[in-house]
Amino acid sequence: MIKKEIKGAFYIAWKDLKTYYLKAPNISWGIMFPIVMALAFVLRNPGEIKELIPGLIALSILFASTSAEAIVIVFERRTKTLERLLLTPLSIESILFGKVIGGVVFGFLISGVFLIGSVVFLGTSISNFISLILSLLISALVFSVFGTFVSVYVKEIFDAMTLANFFRFPMIFLCGVFIPVSSMPSFIRPLAYVFPLTYSVDLIRFFLTGTYDVVNPLIGVTVLIVYSVILFYLSVFTLKRRVE
């Protein structure tokens, strides 16, 4: 039974990757947006690009994992294909897990593009490769689940974008992507601790450079996992309520 549910989730993820994620607009959005943001910063402060790498990788995961994820379920509700999925013997948990995996894989692939690019072109060194890969996956998980929650919660695609951006844009400036959290004014720091991007940037920084800015990496991993679990079950609960 569990095997069937897991296989079903992976079939949904593979279908989503084929039909939604691996399309030119999504790929270009996932790659272009962080590059443009970084360029704007680097033009002002040339020579600091290397310091931005952890934040840029985390940002690429945030935008890649949430760009399609935040609208997939709203879109499928409109086309009634979500109803088609709900008619299968799979549980709502497995259906949503499949949706999350799609976002995780896409976010991870896009972050890989940035990682390889920074190693090849900027000579970025990696302190712990395996842990870095795990931190990319955990980051992709939390942002993909966030996208899923947005998608389940709203009714229209426009609302999904509005809600996703309500959280995404403040995160860009508050979570240590461009300015380390420790260098921020103390009254802003509590806000930074609320957002998962802070812990994602910090983890990636630690496994690239060996130093962290905000919290011990173990605490960072725990926070991201707790965020993922809470948002996932909130998504399951919300969708179940909608069905009933």
């Binding site: 079939y11 084929k18 086309t79 009634k80 294909t81 109803e83 008619l87 013997p89 009933e244």
Partner: protein
Amino acid sequence: MNNVIEVVNLTKYYDNFLAVDHINFEVKKGEIFGFLGPNGAGKTTTIKMLTGLAKPSEGTAKIDGKDIVKQIVEIKEIIGVVTEDSNLYDELSVVDNLNFMGQLYGVPKMERERKIEELLKRFGLENKKNVKFAKLSKGMKRKVTIAAALVHKPKMLFLDEPTTGLDILSARVLRSMIRELNRAGVTIFLTTHYIEEAEQLCDTVAIIVNGRIKTSDIPRNLILKTKTRNLEEAFIEITGLREEIILAEKGGEINKV
């Protein structure tokens, strides 16, 4: 067990609105059961409850002896459902859509491929198998949607308004397919607006009006009971639509507006 569906006092409220009001009926194994009623009578809500898309507010129902609330996963494995909309994936080809559905129902690869080939042949879709779903005509989409509901070899098929919006030819082809499926042993639960379609296809019909079942019998008996010439007239009599029709013909609808 002769009854494949047994419905007892099934009820559904949407907030304070009573959509389905304590309905009772049975569907026999191997029959085509027609569930008829005017728009908004509660047909789709009933199907949604029987297929796990909505939770009943009161009452119970069993499909193949299994409870629709407690054993819905087991029920979903043995039923196929074709909703009002052709709700497959536009971006996937016909064969990829069928394959995806088979995967979700856990049909093993070899069996799935064999079944898909058989369905493509039966529904005359062989030359369309690599065409994207979005590119198909409405009639073709309907056929593929029905085929997708059959990949896991269901014992029972729910068809919600299967011929609505189709041209005469496509509708005729679909009706003959429904008969063929039924001859192959699939019990069919059909809702339709087209009463002549129900008369041609159904062994038994139930008529629902304002969430309540008015009657359930074989079409011939309904015609005899109402002393009418055909099922359409019997339907008008039973649903009380005659007065509304006379009013509309006299322009009553316009006056109402």
